[in-house]
């Protein structure tokens, strides 16, 4: 059992423990420094709850006998907060083309569903079906939903998590709007945890970053991410030495986070959610005006700075002892 737990990532890897434990003291320090501000912010949150709206989609009905992957193989089986055997997940996976479409097309449908429909919001950590029912979640919620849908359709999927430094527009929109978040981020020099998913297609792990809806990407001036686009070096810069590949999320991963966003700094969470929601509205206007394809083509060209590849050839004067 221990081996399985370790494989599934239920036991927090040392690297994640280090990232988390490294981030907590500065958060506690920031909160303790500004108790009155935090209290006022939380009180104000009661009056100013942000309405992210209902999901724009209907969850398809589960029909007994719908095919789904029952394998206990690594990256296909259920893991913590990522259950591909949940009825709603199976139903949606089938609706998106599981076992009917080629792997890439199915994965692309899953990617587009999560990306276009699940709004980024700083909510407490919960199950993939909760994310699906609510239509909102953090990047980790979205990765869990993406992975669960892929796994239900028989495609291996895993998490790639890391700490990251954000580019300026994201910093302004997500971090600067909350003095607490800003102090925390600035103290760390990075955002504690972010991730992308990876899905195994035709013998290769393909990156999937469904974090932002197209509206939000447009508001931030980012290209509209497609399946296979890696955000590293585009809008995020992972910190060296923090990248972790995991089959599943560790137990306890959300305890501190949930306490933070649901209780301790609820007011700050709402500020960030509101800021992102406002940005999505602006982004919608941009996309309506330009058209998604044209917008993406123009921005993508800008971001695709060609990094030439250098072939490392032996140099006679380099002596290794």
């Amino acid at each position: 059992m221990f081996r399985e737990w370790r494989e599934k990532g239920y036991i927090m890897p040392a690297r994640m423990l280090r990232v988390t434990m490294g981030a907590l003291p500065s958060l506690i320090k920031v909160l303790l420094r500004h108790p009155v501000y935090v209290m006022k912010s939380n009180l104000a949150a009661r009056k100013n709850a942000v309405d992210l709206g209902r999901p724009s989609y209907e969850i398809p009905e589960y029909v007994e006998g719908m095919p789904y992957c029952k394998s206990n193989e690594r990256y296909l089986r259920p893991t913590h907060l990522c259950n591909p055997h949940a009825k709603e997940i199976i139903a949606l996976a089938n609706h998106l083309g599981a076992y009917k479409l080629p792997d890439w097309e199915f994965a692309e449908n899953v990617f587009n569903f999560v990306k276009k429909n699940i709004k980024l919001a700083f909510v407490g950590m919960d199950r993939e079906v909760d994310t699906l029912r609510r239509g909102t979640g953090t990047c980790v919620h979205q990765l869990s939903l993406f992975a669960a849908l892929c796994r239900a359709g028989g495609l291996k999927a895993r998490y790639k998590l890391y700490s990251l430094a954000l580019v300026e527009p994201l910093y302004e929109n997500m971090i600067e709007v909350s003095p607490i978040m800003k102090s925390w981020y600035d103290a760390l020099g990075s955002f504690m945890l972010h991730g992308t998913a990876e899905v195994y297609i035709d013998g290769e792990w393909v990156v999937a970053d469904p974090t932002f809806t197209p509206e939000y990407e447009a508001a931030m001036g980012l290209p509209l991410a497609k399946l296979g686009d890696d955000p590293m070096g585009i809008w995020n810069y992972p910190l060296e030495g923090t990248v972790m590949l995991l089959e599943g999320l560790p137990y306890g991963v959300g305890v501190a986070w949930n306490f933070l966003v649901n209780f301790l700094a609820k007011g700050e969470r709402i500020k960030i959610d509101r800021s992102m929601n406002e940005a999505r509205k602006k982004g919608r206007e941009i996309l309506d005006e330009m058209g998604e394809e044209e917008y993406d083509a123009s921005v993508r060209a800008k971001y695709e700075a060609k990094i030439p590849k250098i072939t490392l050839e032996k140099v006679p004067n380099l002596v290794f002892e």
Binding site: R18, E168, G189, S190, G221, E240, A301, P308, N317, F320
Partner: protein
């Protein structure tokens, strides 16, 4: 009395940076002109054209990697027949220099990047750190300067002795030409950067020439700064030991900063009493700390024309606070009595050997046009019109050890002529920003993270 002929004086002082025989077009463009910023446009164009054409051919012929880039773009040195053809020279994104392997491969990467002959470099150990490799190259006479953004990812640039000396001469000439109304070799300087003898961090290394330009140099940050220390200072730690190091550095910072400010304040006092000419060179926020202290103590001075300030690296003074350049100049004037004409900013970066310096008259960034070609480009890589903003890119005519044809992450605005002074050639607006979507970077920000305890 300030010197009358900057070139004559500096050529004598900086003779170690000048080759015994000036033979290549790059050397001629750098060492021959009487002035960097006052050349007639035609003459500057001639020098620049020859230097960059020569540098392009040099990299094309001696650097396999860059030759492949040229082949992909369908350009050869024969295609460059006038300055108008410079837009055909392929630019390398600055991100390329952050895309390096680790361990022994890092050494191989550096060697493959070089367009000049790699001297014999002995690397010890199976898995050498970046610092081990940098030290090994240094022993062989290659300066591997580095810089870091907020992610702890470095930019590494290898400079052989040829390129390094030309770069040192260039910064010396660039700075002093704009400060010639102040300059005397008998002056004293306070370096607001790390000690160049103790680090390869670019902001430190590039200022080594200051020891030759003035008679006496004090250093604000007089400790070793390796890539590991810089990374830890940026908040990127890999293990418990580094975490502890980070804590210790931060804990010690308060005391060290206090000492640093005290040293600066005492030095200012001493120099004033002695009637010395003084220069502060480096990160503005460090001088700002001393100004804060002097203000708290109710002290002010009147150095007048005897004082000069040459800043560089950016204007962030706290995490959430940017110091407006004009406010800084006003403070320098109010507390030290140094006139705004003697308070200039210098724009440079680890990837280049071009130093753009404010003119005293209007504080616009002037380009050393004799060897350095600036392009301000849009998202499609096309040159923007004068008066417009765009991405800063450059063709460096004196970068010999690596291809110095680079597009950066900085946003600048270019003018056809300086609105404030009569010097020829295009200028940049006094302040430079980062392009949205680029990692936050700045040499002063590096320094700020190294020394601040916040």
């Amino acid at each position: 009395m300030p010197v009358e002929n900057v070139k004559e004086t500096l050529d004598e002082i900086l003779h170690d940076y000048i080759p015994s025989s000036i033979s290549t077009p790059s050397e001629k463009a750098l060492y021959e002109p009487d002035t960097f910023y006052g050349l007639p446009q035609k003459k500057a164009d001639e020098y620049r054209y020859e230097a960059i054409k020569y540098a392009f051919r040099h990299h094309y012929e001696n650097n396999r990697f860059y030759r492949e880039v040229c082949s992909e773009n369908g350009v050869t040195p024969d295609d460059i027949r006038s300055i108008d053809d410079f837009s055909r020279i392929p630019l390398i994104t600055h991100k390329f220099f952050k895309d390096y392997p680790s361990g022994r491969d890092f050494a191989v990467w550096l060697a493959n990047l070089m367009s000049t002959e790699v001297p014999k470099v002995v690397i010890k150990g199976k898995n050498p750190s970046f610092d081990d490799v940098i030290d090994a190259f240094a022993e062989a006479g290659v300066v591997v300067a580095f810089s870091s953004g907020t992610t702890g990812k470095f930019t590494f640039i290898p400079r052989d002795a040829w390129t390094y000396k030309m770069g040192q001469y260039a910064i010396g000439r660039s700075a002093i030409e704009m400060l010639k109304q102040w300059y005397e070799p008998d002056a004293s300087g306070f370096l607001l950067f790390p000690n160049p003898k103790k680090t390869n961090i670019y902001v430190g290394k590039v200022t080594n020439v200051m020891y030759d330009l003035v008679k006496d140099v004090q250093v604000a940050i007089d400790r070793e700064i390796t890539t590991q220390i810089l990374r830890i200072s940026m908040g990127v730690t890999f293990n418990f030991k580094e975490k502890m190091m980070s804590k210790m550095i931060k804990a010690a910072s308060k005391k060290m900063n206090e000492d640093m400010v005290k040293r600066m304040v005492n030095w200012i006092d001493e120099m004033y009493k002695k009637g010395e000419r003084i220069l502060f060179a480096g990160a503005p926020f460090i001088l700002n700390m001393a100004l804060d202290r002097l203000e708290e103590e109710g002290k002010s001075y009147d150095f007048g024309e005897r004082g000069a300030v040459l800043t560089g690296g950016g204007w962030k003074i706290h995490e959430d606070k940017r110091l407006p350049v004009e406010v800084f100049r006003e403070r320098v004037g109010k507390i030290l009595g140094i006139p705004p004409e003697n308070c200039l900013d210098l724009y440079a970066m680890v990837e280049s050997n071009g130093f753009l310096v404010h003119c005293p008259e209007g504080h616009y960034f002037h380009i050393p046009q004799n060897y350095f070609h600036v392009r301000v480009i849009d998202d499609d890589g096309e040159d923007v019109a004068y008066g417009e903003e765009g991405r800063f890119a450059f063709l460096d005519g004196i970068a010999m050890s690596y291809p110095g044809f680079i597009s950066t992450g900085d946003k600048v605005k270019i003018h056809e002529r300086c609105p404030a002074c009569g010097r020829e050639g295009p200028v940049l607006e006094p302040e430079v920003e980062r392009i949205k979507g680029e990692e936050i970077r700045g040499c002063a920000e590096e320094m700020r993270r190294i020394i601040m305890e916040e």
